[in-house]
Structures are given as C-alpha cells and as structure tokens.
C-alpha cells in the first residue's frame, strides 16, 4: 500500500494521512493509491503539512508498517528514548521498529 506522511507545519510533529485529515498515529494511515500528489499539493497549500511524501507500507497484525526503517522510526519515535515514544506503554515498540 502507499501511504502519506509529512510533518505538521506548526508543531513539526510527524503526521500520517488518515483519509479525512492527518493523524499522529501510523495505524490510522490509509492507502492513497495513485492520489498521493493530489492530496499533498492540496494539504501543503492549506498549510496543514510540510515536507510530505508517499511511502510504501504494508498492513500487518500490528497495524500499518512502513517499509523502510527510517519511516518506522518516524512512526514511533527515537528507539533510544521509548519514554518519548507514541507507544510508551508498549515495551516492544523498539523491536517493532526494527
């Protein structure tokens, strides 16, 4: 699947296109098929996101999993500071990334 990610313009937070808006959680990401450019152009023009790009991902039992480790780390947070992770209660968060 193709999903969209970028950063919130104001906060810089990593965000994922959820179909009707941006989410902080990668598990909300939806398959955009071939619409990536159209959605990004619209959302960047509306200043809702910056530095957006499309990535490959797959749906797994744990949710949507970006194909590349860089985006998996973006999804969860620094693997060396799980206390800052979006999944702080999940001790396996770091392993999920790898």
């Amino acid at each position: 699947m193709k999903i969209l990610t970028g950063n919130d313009l104001k906060s810089g937070a990593v965000t994922w296109w959820a179909g009707n808006g941006w989410s902080l959680h990668v598990e909300d990401a939806v398959d955009v098929g071939t619409d990536a450019e159209t959605i990004l152009a619209r959302e960047e023009a509306a200043r809702r996101v910056v530095s957006g790009y499309a990535i490959d991902a797959e749906k797994t039992a744990d949710g949507v999993r970006p194909a590349h480790i860089k985006d998996r780390i973006r999804a969860v947070g620094p693997t060396v500071r799980l206390d800052l992770s979006l999944k702080p209660a999940d001790p396996a968060a770091g392993n999920w990334v790898i």
């Binding site: 906060s11 960047e44 200043r47 530095s51 780390i73 060396v80």
Partner: protein
C-alpha cells in the same frame, strides 16, 4: 568571557524580530515553504526526523553560567527536558515547534546567544580548544582570535552564500584538541624562529564522504593580518569552489583539484591585493576583545595536592582532570557519556546543575567540547572532591574521558533525516560491553557516524564506525587507525560490515589484538600503527 557590545546585541535582536515576522508570514501563508526553508535554516532551524530541530551556536564552545542555565530552561520550556551537545561545540534541541522558535531565539538573545549561521552554506560556529585560557600547554589564549573571527564571519556579506558550509578552528597548543586539521581552515597559533607569534594556516581539511587532512599553506601569518589572510582563503574558495555538485563543493575538493601549491599561489595573490585594501580590523578592536578574556581572579598559594583517599574519586581525578597553568587549579571534564547513555545528551536539570557548579567552582565559566562533553576550566584542586560529589549525585561523574566509553556519536537514524543507520544504540552497546575496562584498555577514541556525512567523526576515531544502509538494513563498517589530534590520520576500513551486534563483537576482537600486542605504554592507536591492519583483520574476519 566576551560580552556583547551594543552592535552585537542590536544585530541579534534585529534578527529575532526579523525571524518572528518570517515565521508569522509562513504560518499565515504569505511565505511559502520553498522561500521560508532557507530563512529558517539561516536561524539554525532544521526539519528533522521527528520535529523541528534548533541548533544553538556556542562560540568556540564557551558559555557563562547564566547562558548554560537558559539552555537548561529552554530544554524544559520548549523541548522535552533535554538537549544534545554536538561535535561543533553547539547544542541542539530535537522537539521544537515552529511557532515557539521566535520566542526561543528571544530567550537566547537575552543572554547574548543565537542560532545564526548554525546551518547553511556560510561560515559556521568557530571552534577552538576547550582548554583555552586554562591549559598549561598553550602558547597564548586563542579565544580573542576566535572571537575576532566570529565577528568577521558573522553576517559577512560576501560569504553568506558560499559553495558549501565552512568550518574554522583556532588553537594555540601543539596538543590539538579541536581536530584542527580536519577543518576547512585550521589555524594554529605558533611561534616562529624569531620568537614572534603568528598563525599557521591549514586549509582544505574535512571529513564527510571525501575525508582529507588539511595541508599547511602558510606556516606563519602575522597575527595582525589574520583576518586579511582568512578573507583571501575564503575569496579564492568563493570564486572557484564548485557550485554544480554539492558533493564536490567543499574547499577540500578545490584545494585537492587545484593542488595545494596553486591554491596557495592564488591565496597569496589575493592576500597581497587585500593588504592594500586595509580590511584588517583595527588593533584597538582586538585589544577591546582581549580585555574580556583576562584571567579570572585566581588565588595564589593554593595547595597543589589532592586528597585521593576515596578510590572512586581518585580514578575520576586521574581520568577527567587536566593540568591547569595556575598552581592549585585543575581543568575538569564532565563526561556526558554515562554507561549505556546517549552521548552528548544532558537533561535540563543536569544542564542547570552544571551551570550552578560552574558558578560555584569555575569562575562562572563552562566549555562544550567537540567530543560532546562539558569542561569546567578553572577549578581549585581543593574543591575537586566537593565538585565530584555533586556531579556523582547527578549521574555526571563517569570517569571515562578519552577511553572506549567516551564515544562521539552523531544523532543517527534515531533523530536525523540524513542518516542511514542508528548510531546511538551501537554506542550504548559498546559502552555497556566495555564498562569497567577503561584502565585496562586505556586511551581509545571511538567515533560513530550514522551516514557518510561523518558528523560523528568516524574517519578520525582510533576505532571508527560508519553506519550504512544495505538494502534497507542497517550495516556498520569498521575503521581503524584514525586520529584527530596532533598526529591526525584517517582510519582505514577493515573489510565487510557487520550488523549491530556483530560490530560490537568486532570491536571486542580489535581490543583483544591490541592488548595481546601492546608494548609498554602504547595506546591502541600506537599499537595499530606499529603492527598494521593485518592482525586485526585476521582476528576480526579469520
């Protein structure tokens, strides 16, 4: 320490107001991202892996207690309670909001700090010896010259859009603690045969994907021509440095392609021309600066001995203090490399504590080192135990300076959008694996970069590690034999790379080869240079 005059303060305040307006226009849509991006980068604001990252300049690594305290407060108020000290003697915050950035810059300006020229193709923060003004082994204090260079390079209209970023280091000690020859320009203040003080210029060094050791292009430039000569070096680079290919745009490529002799000839011609233009700052300005680097009120007649009855304290004294030029004082390095910790990170509380300790024990002064530690430059030996006790309570008493646990590591793929592999977890594993073996292994400088840009100085590590992306998987190349001191050398790759656990095992084997072959007081680097790569390779891959 240098104190801003009205011009310094006015420039920084004006920049804060300007950036506040630029952020406002970005947020209201009148300034698009492609126009805004270079403006935010000029103010040290990057968009990194997880958020905006702000890099704050610490000129030649020198901080007052008040400045350090504000750095701690910013970590709490605008970030997530910590900061990261960098190999350019700066500090970075990883979780900055764009809308907060102008307020942070305003807070910094109140203590004479900013983030100007911490990014972009301009002259970056001038770096220097973290022991400047304190060490027994320096010729003169290099800081006034570093400050003069800072003023010259700040907002320099001709050098704001260079072919690529530009880094300058200034030292005045033969014991190079600033990786001087791995800079675009390395300046070493020297004495010539006539007994005069001047500057040796080393130009065209650097790390990155094409590491080079800077050759000396002029062994003696009179100090009253320092800025003029620097200007000549930059002018030739600005004129002929490549702008068509960012990977060939650094001055090291120009010097290499022209050849040292031809580059030097052009610099000397430009220098002769510039001498006729009278661009050197008046001596009165240098004198004004020098006054601000006058010695603090050192006491005389202090005891020069230290009570070493506490064994843990004695180990720390031996490892983390250095000789001061004034009897009864010592230079203290606070390691930001606890076992299993993140190299260079400090919590807001630790930052504020170090500020308080500097006020109490070190004449209000701190230094950031390029090895991502903090120095208190002027501590009475009689106060060392009290200082150590307070550091120990805060988790800041790790006795590992220049040992295998004192690792330089870039933020790597955990934070950096350019990285290919994580650096910090590798540093943590190595630090944990070798904890307690500092005395046995001795001096061993280990440096880790998460990509070819070499922010973690892997080329210059006695042991260097380079993280690469191999088909989507992190892989780590091992290098041996680098050094960034007076005996600068570039490390050589041992062979095929390793995964995260494999690289730790490979390092363990390398240290075993060292210990088995070590003669006398040889350091790891000395043994490597004597026996060569072969026995290491055999042990690692055999």
């Amino acid at each position: 320490m240098y104190k801003y005059d009205q011009y310094d303060q006015a420039m920084v305040d004006a920049r804060v107001a300007e950036f506040r307006d630029q952020v406002r226009r970005r947020l209201d849509g009148t300034l698009p991202e492609d126009k805004f991006r270079p403006l935010r980068l000029m103010n040290g604001l990057y968009l990194q892996l997880h958020a905006y990252m702000l890099r704050v300049a610490v000129p030649y690594g020198t901080l007052s207690s008040a400045q350090m305290r504000v750095l701690g407060d910013i970590a709490d108020k605008y970030d997530r309670g910590y900061g990261h000290f960098t190999t350019r003697q700066n500090i970075q915050y990883n979780w900055i909001k764009l809308e907060d950035a102008p307020d942070i810059l305003a807070d910094l300006a109140k203590v004479e700090m900013h983030a100007i020229q911490t990014s972009g193709n301009c002259i970056r923060n001038i770096s220097s010896d973290q022991y400047a003004g304190a060490t027994a082994d320096e010729l003169i204090d290099p800081r006034p010259y570093a400050e003069l260079l800072r003023q010259w390079s700040s907002f320099h209209p001709e050098f704001s859009y260079l072919p690529r970023k530009f880094k300058i280091a200034v030292i005045a000690s033969a014991t190079d603690r600033a990786a001087m020859r791995l800079h675009d320009i390395g300046i070493e203040i020297v004495r010539n045969e006539q007994g005069e003080i001047g500057a040796a210029f080393y130009v065209g060094g650097g790390m990155g994907r094409t590491p080079m050791i800077a050759p000396c292009i002029n062994a003696f430039v009179p100090l009253d021509q320092l800025i003029t000569y620097s200007e000549a070096c930059l002018r030739v680079y600005n004129r002929y440095g490549r702008r068509d290919n960012k990977y060939k745009a650094r001055i090291k490529i120009l010097v290499h392609e022209l050849g040292k002799d031809e580059y030097t000839r052009q610099v000397e011609a430009e220098f002769a021309h510039l001498l006729s233009q009278g661009i050197e700052p008046p001596l009165a300005e240098l004198e004004r600066i020098k006054v601000q680097f006058a010695d603090p009120a050192f006491e005389t007649g202090l005891p020069d001995s230290v009570d070493r009855s506490d064994p843990d304290f004695a180990v720390w004294v031996d490892r983390n203090t250095a000789a001061h030029r004034v009897p009864g004082y010592a230079i203290v390095t606070i390691s930001l490399k606890p076992v299993g910790g993140i190299p260079g990170d400090a919590t807001a509380d630790q930052i504020r504590l170090m500020a308080d300790l500097a006020k109490e024990y070190s004449f209000d002064e701190l230094r950031v080192t390029h090895a991502q530690n903090i120095v208190l430059p002027h501590v009475r030996k009689a106060d060392l135990y009290a200082l150590w006790t307070k550091l120990d309570e805060a988790g800041l008493s790790t006795a590992n300076l220049d040992t295998i646990g004192d690792i330089i590591a870039c933020p790597g793929l955990d934070y950096c959008s350019l990285a290919n592999a994580r650096s910090i977890p590798v540093a943590q594993k190595i630090s944990e694996r070798f904890a307690g073996r500092e005395a046995e292994i001795g001096e061993l400088k280990l440096k880790i970069s998460g990509c070819i840009n070499a922010c973690g100085h892997h080329h210059a590590g006695h042991i260097g590690i380079l993280g690469v992306d191999r088909k989507g998987t992190e892989n780590y190349q091992l290098l041996l034999g680098g050094s960034e001191g007076a005996d600068t050398s570039l490390g050589q790759i041992t062979g095929p790379g390793f995964d995260e656990d494999g690289i730790v095992g490979a390092i363990e084997k390398a240290t075993e080869v060292y210990l088995a072959n070590k003669q006398g007081e040889e350091r790891f680097l000395d043994t490597y240079r004597r026996v060569g790569m072969a026995p290491f390779k055999e042990a690692i891959y055999g």
